[in-house]
Symmetry: C2
Subunit: 234 residues, 2 copies
């Protein structure tokens, strides 16, 4: 009998925004894995640190933040082999995921490699999307409105085309891409319908008008919310 792979959404960062199920499963897992930077602590682990015990085996998946995908792919290949070893030996393994595992989660990399071979369960989490909206007091969509969720890492032309067509939108993964996104929103006359949110639900949370954001200090975990505001579906 092989073990089960769990993708555990731990929410946006506040330890209280974890679900009862994630806590219950996490406490009984013999092996816990999580993404981490090349040096330093894992954010996902920090969210649920108080739920972990020294008896658990921990696997830090240290992912290089490079523009090329190849180095990260090699890391996930090796992590899948290590996790697969525990699963084959009958040990359940939980992978901690900031936000939700299936909404831009790096867990998808491990899911694609391991789910064809091992029983896999995903525990959904509070996503950064709804956490940012809640923090900012900005409803995402109501009634018949359409929401477009898109990463700021897209090329400028693709982003502009999509934002032009969008009714409500959330632009994720801002980081160094903020000037590009701000430029587009200004050109489209949409900048004043937006709210900027960084580190939603954490002590360091900041909510600002887009025009006042200093582009030199924008973290990867930040978002621009565009309200529908009665705009027509075009």
């Amino acid at each position: 009998m092989s073990g089960t792979l769990y993708g555990l959404g731990v929410g946006p960062g506040d330890p209280e925004l974890v679900t009862l199920r994630a806590v219950r499963i996490l406490r009984r897992l013999p092996v816990v894995a999580y993404p981490a930077p090349l040096e330093g602590a894992s954010f996902a682990r920090s969210v649920v640190a108080s739920q972990l015990s020294p008896a658990q085996t921990e696997i830090a998946i240290r992912v290089p933040m490079t523009r090329s995908l190849a180095p990260a792919q090699a890391v996930y290949d090796r992590a899948a082999i290590e996790i697969g070893g525990h699963l084959k030996a009958g040990r359940d393994v939980g992978v901690l995921c900031q936000g939700d595992p299936f909404l831009y989660g790096s867990f998808i990399q491990l899911f694609d490699r391991l789910a064809p071979e091992f029983p896999t369960k995903v525990v959904p989490g509070v996503s950064s999307l709804t956490a940012c909206a809640a923090a900012a007091g900005v409803p995402l969509v109501a009634r018949d409105e359409i929401l477009t969720v898109l990463p700021a890492t897209l090329p400028e032309a693709a982003l502009e085309k999509r934002l032009k067509l969008a009714q409500a939108a959330a632009v994720l993964k801002l980081g160094r891409h903020l000037p590009k996104v701000r430029r587009i929103l200004k050109r489209l006359g949409l900048a004043d319908r937006t709210t900027y949110v960084e580190h939603a639900s954490l002590e360091s949370q900041r909510i600002l008008p887009l025009e006042t954001v200093d582009s030199a200090s924008v973290p990867y975990f930040s978002m621009i919310l565009l309200r529908a505001g009665g705009r027509e579906v075009r």
Copy 2:
């Protein structure tokens, strides 16, 4: 000192998919409100029923399910007055919201009416969007992919235009609109990239290929997920 209005996301239905914060706040609230049908039990209340106590004042907001918006608007007007009365008297009021309060939540109706006047906090919840993806084992979006979230209640032409342009998509609120959405997805050659999910996270959860769904028995709380599957951004 007026009380605080809380929008409490209680997740998709499984009582374990509630956050620690929603539980903590809910237990200490003197007044708890929730949407309910004209007759019968409230779904949102049923999710957290075990956390409620007889000492709490409950307000069932009985919303008629009509195509015209006016009757529901009148109900929310009256509910806002009743809730506002408690807030003015210094009592905190929590409004239970299936899924997340700001993603198609009826809480937005009360937020719009009460947030300008009273301190308001929103506790994000696990949305039906991520719960359906988790239940079906279908990642929503990875890397640079774009997700379009749209309600099946839109007119056929608007839906078709958006789905044609979409990379990954989630079509919510299916109910009696399923035949229309299925027709569009077939015309666009996308039907075989989809998964149908109803009642995600509940005992009654069903996950089916779209073509096998009986359109006579589709609940409002159901969703079609369209995988990006390497399609280009157009």
